[in-house]
Symmetry: C2
Subunit: 230 residues, 2 copies
Amino acid sequence: MELEKITKVESRASRRYEDACGAAHALDLVGERWALLVIRELMLGPKRFSDLRADLPGISANVLTQRLEGLEEAGVLVRRKLAPPASTQVYELTPWGYEAEPIFQALGRWAARSPRHDPSLPLSDVSLLLSFRTMADPVRMRGVKMRIGLRLRRGGYCVRVGGGSLDVSRDSLEDVDLVIAGAPPAIAAAVYGGVPLAQLETEGALAIEGEHGLAERFIGLFALPPKVGD
Amino acid sequence: MELEKITKVESRASRRYEDACGAAHALDLVGERWALLVIRELMLGPKRFSDLRADLPGISANVLTQRLEGLEEAGVLVRRKLAPPASTQVYELTPWGYEAEPIFQALGRWAARSPRHDPSLPLSDVSLLLSFRTMADPVRMRGVKMRIGLRLRRGGYCVRVGGGSLDVSRDSLEDVDLVIAGAPPAIAAAVYGGVPLAQLETEGALAIEGEHGLAERFIGLFALPPKVGD
DNA sequence: CGGCATCCGGGAAGATACTG
DNA sequence: CAGTATCTTCCCGGATGCCG
């Protein structure tokens, strides 16, 4: 057991980049496969093991366990036991963990220009909401004030636009001007793919509860960068 | 041979995150081990295979070959043959590849707060220069105008401060106000570690050609974020 | 069922030696 | 100098099973 631990530590050490560069150290911490996506899924609040598994298509249970251990050891997240009677264990980012969001924004903005980016793949609730924070255009938000509710697979979120910025929270859908209900890929198709709302509604992929004009204005707040070569 | 190709393609596909999230796609492109560090080393201009190998402590030749192939296929870099009589082959980022710099800035800023960050590890020329671009404080640069030359192991660089921003280029050391010569870790110790210039000079780790006061002012332009817990 | 340990097969990374 | 070939080690992914 002790020997096992030692060899484990040694192998970990030998697999780190021996590099003082901050980016290299970041990759030592979160560069393993799935690590950043686990953090992404926790960016809007704590989740349980099984929620993480369900929201990360393709991760296996043992890898998720390993990543959670490593990220906890690195100080990126903590395990927390909810007060009874819930008593379930959740994983929650530390304040420093939450500060990783610019990493996702930089990665996302850069990859959005990739010729190979395939928007038809599955998209998690959190990914969609984070993309709003990343892709909202400050110029287009100037003078706009609205509260949009999103009813996604795993719950409700509220997007508040005002004061030239955009705020997102996992929230009930009280006091919103409009609710958009649907799966994340459908909403992404409307927001980023230019697919008309009417078409998505007749297909049953999406439902709008409120004024359509407001939904159109909401969609107009976001802009993808042009693909490489354009 | 054909079978080999097919299995290779299949394995590649199965190892991608099937996720429309931009960050996930970025990791499909540059998430493999060493890939981002290869890009980092090319951020300030093209390099040869052996230079990359020398500047990436610990990468092996076959992995470097694979990463260069993959990054070329992804459109992040191109192989270019220099005109005769040089005739050596170099690897150069595409314009889109150069746009990856915010990724390094986000990673670096975040990891700089890590309790485990060890600044005494080796540091490449490019890492040091990129850290200047990342960590220069716009407030402190206000009204400052200077041209600092750096003579590092692998050549000369010029850091131009002016108009509230900082510019870096691989360049000769003509027309600079000051030259700092030394190994990147020593310069980092002065800039980020608070080690006095005089001490580094007497140790022979660093040499200043010009006014010391100017060097001190240059060093004062940079600030690391506080560590987690401070 | 949620969380985790264990075993196994395949494939990626690492080290070293070798070649045009 | 710029890689290729080969071998070993280790990580990832899948399946199974344990336990509260």
